[in-house]
């Protein structure tokens, strides 16, 4: 215990703290600037630029954003997709991962290989597009925002290795007591796997919430447009305008404050998820590490 208070230990510790504080601040400050600017009056943004603390506190940007009825609608779409998507993705992924974690499963390596291949190769954008629009007829439906991400092979492998850490004896004893595969999965394995499921759930929730790619490709109706696509569109059109050297094709840019407010709104909900999942998340990170 004494050596823990040695000079070198303290030095190491303080450098550590200092280093990570700097990194932490570097991550936090831009976010705070965005937050501060979203409350700043537009005129000040033009004249003085972005600032941490608004000179003139106003909710104007937020009012403008919420006046566009499409934002609330998009918000609803995003929330629906994230909730339904995460739950069903967890269900499907764990139903695939659990059998694959059982050694006695027939054709196990074959199926594992099949899943692995999808991580390494893909048919490309056009075949994928044709599959979804022409064969599955999912274009412009809510399902197109959910179905393509139901199984992420990487998440499946993480979950599979998590299931493998659950002692076989526990499952076996359940079997002896007469539980079938489904019962032992639902009543024994799932409750023991909350850290793993929470981690994967967070991955899925983030993926669903942050996604604009699916909606960009497959959604035409305004009613089904998730909030990230709105943001993406705004930035995309802004980039286009900036690339124009002349003002002839001039298009009015959304005010800076409105951009900032939209950014804050779009990260809001997912931001709130972190504190609740964090404790599982830390456990989840140790998945696969050697346990004493």
């Amino acid at each position: 215990m004494v050596e823990h208070k040695s000079v070198s230990y303290r030095l190491f510790n303080s450098i550590n703290y200092l280093f990570f504080s700097v990194i932490g601040i570097a991550c936090l400050v831009p976010f705070l600037i965005v937050l501060g600017s979203s409350f700043e009056a537009e005129q000040n943004l033009k004249e003085a630029g972005f600032a941490l603390i608004p000179k003139q506190f106003t909710l104007y940007s937020y009012e403008t954003v919420f006046q566009l009825n499409s934002v609330m609608q998009s918000f609803l779409v995003s929330v629906t997709v994230t909730v339904i998507g995460t739950l069903s993705a967890l269900l499907v992924t764990s139903l695939l991962a659990y059998p694959l974690s059982q050694r006695e499963m027939k054709f196990r390596s074959l199926i594992l290989g099949y899943v692995l291949i999808t991580m390494l190769f893909s048919g490309g954008l056009v075949p994928w597009y044709i599959l979804i629009t022409k064969y599955l007829h999912l274009k412009d439906t809510l399902w197109v925002l959910i179905v393509p991400y139901l199984v992420n092979p990487f998440n499946m492998f993480v979950l599979k290795s998590f299931f493998e850490t659950i002692p076989r004896e526990i499952v076996e004893s359940a079997r002896i007591d007469g539980a079938g595969h489904f019962r032992s999965f639902l009543n024994i394995v799932i409750p023991l796997s909350t850290p793993g499921l929470a981690t994967i759930g967070l991955f899925y929730a983030l993926a669903y919430w942050n996604d604009w790619w699916l909606s960009l490709n497959f959604i035409e109706s305004d009613k089904l447009m998730p909030v990230q696509l709105l943001l993406k569109k705004m930035i995309s059109n802004l980039t286009y305008i900036s690339s124009q050297v002349d003002t002839s094709k001039f298009i009015q840019v959304p005010a800076n404050g409105v951009q900032m407010a939209t950014t804050i709104i779009s990260i809001g909900p997912i931001f709130l998820v972190y504190p609740y999942i964090q404790k599982y998340f830390v456990k989840g990170l140790t998945i696969g590490s050697v346990k004493g």
Partner: protein, 537 residues
């Protein structure tokens, strides 16, 4: 029990594989390029008359046509009041050609990719916007445009005659008509757009701006006396520095649809030069450097995303900039900026009045019909209506009168009181119909109007010696991408003028060396070779 579980798991997997991997057998024509002959919704039409293609289309009479929906893809953002305007427009269209219009707007920076994906997937849509500066060349080589050589004149006679057969022929590709050209400005001579109120205050009159040096001296004078001003435009290389380098000379980029690959012609002679290697280009870097070190430029400009286009209506500090001439928005800018700084006023002067610019007289923008369109005749009828029917054109371009715009005379418009561009419906004319058909803002200044008249009058331009030539980049593709990367990396820094003149010198030398290494000479030689071959024919 165990067996049952694994069997059912396997079965489930098999079912998933089958549903995901296979056709559901509804007979989609994913692979075939020929569109079905009948309308996709025959039930919606009067059942006696479902086959419209063929004989009937020769003499389109409204009664005999079945109702169809035309789908148009455009880049950009869905305008305000879209649903209301479309309702009104579609009533009019139904009355005239038994058709309704449905527009899908795709964000600008994904537009090119989305078009290619949709075309490759054989998705059903009828027409879309494209241009050389987008990916028209790529679309043409990939067969993404419908050949309308036989349909155009028959179904859109007013449009065809209005464009003139000669103009349509200039814009043929491989002898066929694919896209319908949209005539706009022929070329852009450089103009200085500046704050006239400031110029007046310092005793400058428009005729005192003749060269780029005059412009710079004016800026020096203003910034010297008023530190709050920014001498030049904010942002990265705002204004075309390559054009600035050859100001007052006949110049032309070798048409390659790749703006970063070097290759220019001067004085309308078929000799390809590397513009970055000329003294002209170097002199413009020295010019920029002088401006930068003289405090003309906002020092943040290298990192700023804002440009003259993004800040046109919000930037009250900058006193002016050289760039493409204004096309009717100086009045709007004046109105917007004078709200921030009372008394502000914008004007422009042409810096190249004496030079006849070179033009290929070709269109840059096209309305293209999709090969998967079920109703190409109807699309052409629609475009014909947009061209010939003022009422329908106004609705399509500017929305509902009174709500979205107020017509001023025959060819001007203004926004209803208290509204601006962001709050009303508006579509871009340059995606569908000639410029002369569009309205200009009623606030346009006299210099605006003079500029529009100038850049659309063929008499102010001479025909390029290589008009009709199109560079085929296949032979030097890898060089083009390497050179493109070097150009992108260096241009921004060089043309900002940042640093000392010694730094500029060494950076410029480095730029040229890297260009050489990346194979710029091979590109120039290939362009020259293809041009020589073209001229022999």
């Amino acid at each position: 029990m165990k067996k049952v579980f694994f069997k059912s798991a396997l079965f489930l997997l098999a079912v998933i594989l089958v549903t995901v991997g296979c056709s559901n057998g509804k007979g989609n024509n994913a692979g075939s390029s020929s569109p079905p002959a009948v309308s996709p919704e025959p039930s919606a039409a009067n059942s006696a008359d479902t086959s419209v293609s063929g004989d009937n289309s020769k003499e389109p009479s409204p009664q005999k046509l079945n109702q169809v929906s035309l789908k148009l893809l455009l880049p950009g953002d869905k305008p305000q009041h879209y649903d209301e305007v479309m309702k009104v427009l579609n009533e009019k269209l139904t009355e005239k050609i038994q058709a309704t219009l449905d527009i899908q707007y795709i964000p600008w920076d994904s537009y090119k990719d989305q078009i290619l994906v949709k075309l490759a997937a054989g998705e059903e849509f009828d027409f879309y916007y494209d241009g050389w500066w987008q990916n028209y060349a790529q679309v043409l080589t990939k067969g993404g445009a419908l050949d309308i050589s036989d349909l155009f004149e028959k179904n859109a006679p007013d449009l065809y005659n209005g464009l003139t057969a000669a103009y349509v022929d200039t814009n043929r590709y491989n002898g066929k008509i694919y896209g319908i050209p949209v005539p706009g400005p022929l070329e852009y001579p450089m103009a200085y757009i500046y704050r006239a109120d400031i110029a007046e205050k310092y005793g400058y009159t428009p005729d005192m701006f003749k060269t780029k040096e005059d412009v710079q001296n004016f800026a020096f004078k203003v910034v010297g006396e008023d530190k709050s001003r920014v001498g030049k435009l904010n942002g990265e290389f705002t204004g075309n520095y390559q054009a600035l380098a050859f100001l007052g000379m006949q110049r032309e980029y070798v048409p390659s649809n790749d703006f970063n690959s070097p290759g220019m012609l001067l004085n309308n002679e078929p000799k390809v030069i590397n513009q970055f290697e000329t003294d002209y280009y170097k002199s413009v870097l020295t010019y920029a450097n002088k401006g930068y070190n003289g405090g003309l430029i906002d020092k943040d400009s290298l990192f700023s995303k804002s440009t003259v286009a993004t800040d046109a209506n919000t930037d009250a500090k900058t006193i002016g900039g050289i760039g493409n001439p204004s096309e009717g928005n100086l009045g709007d800018r004046t109105a917007a900026i004078s709200k921030i700084e009372p008394g502000a006023r914008f004007e422009q002067v042409f810096l190249e009045q004496g030079t006849k610019m070179v033009s290929s007289f070709k269109a840059g923008n096209f309305t293209v019909l999709s090969p998967s369109s079920n109703n190409p005749e109807r699309v052409l009828m629609f475009l014909n209506l947009i061209y010939a029917d003022k009422d329908i054109r106004d609705t399509y371009l500017y929305g509902i009168e009174g709500q979205d715009f107020v017509a001023v005379g025959d060819n001007q418009f203004k926004y209803p009181d208290g509204l601006d561009r962001t709050k009303v419906f508006q579509n871009e004319w340059w995606m569908v119909t000639p410029w002369k058909n569009a309205r200009i803002p009623a606030t346009a200044t006299d210099t605006d109007k003079a500029s529009i008249a100038y850049i659309t009058d063929p008499n102010n331009f001479v025909k390029s010696v290589i008009a009709g030539f199109e560079f085929n980049p296949d032979a030097v593709k890898s060089e083009i991408s390497k050179v493109g990367a070097v150009v992108t990396e260096y241009r921004k820094v060089l043309e900002s003028g940042a640093g000392t003149s010694a730094q500029l010198e060494s950076r410029y030398a480095e730029f040229l060396a890297k260009l050489k290494k990346a194979g710029v000479d091979k590109i120039i030689a290939e362009k020259q070779r293809q041009i020589d071959e073209f001229l022999k024919k």
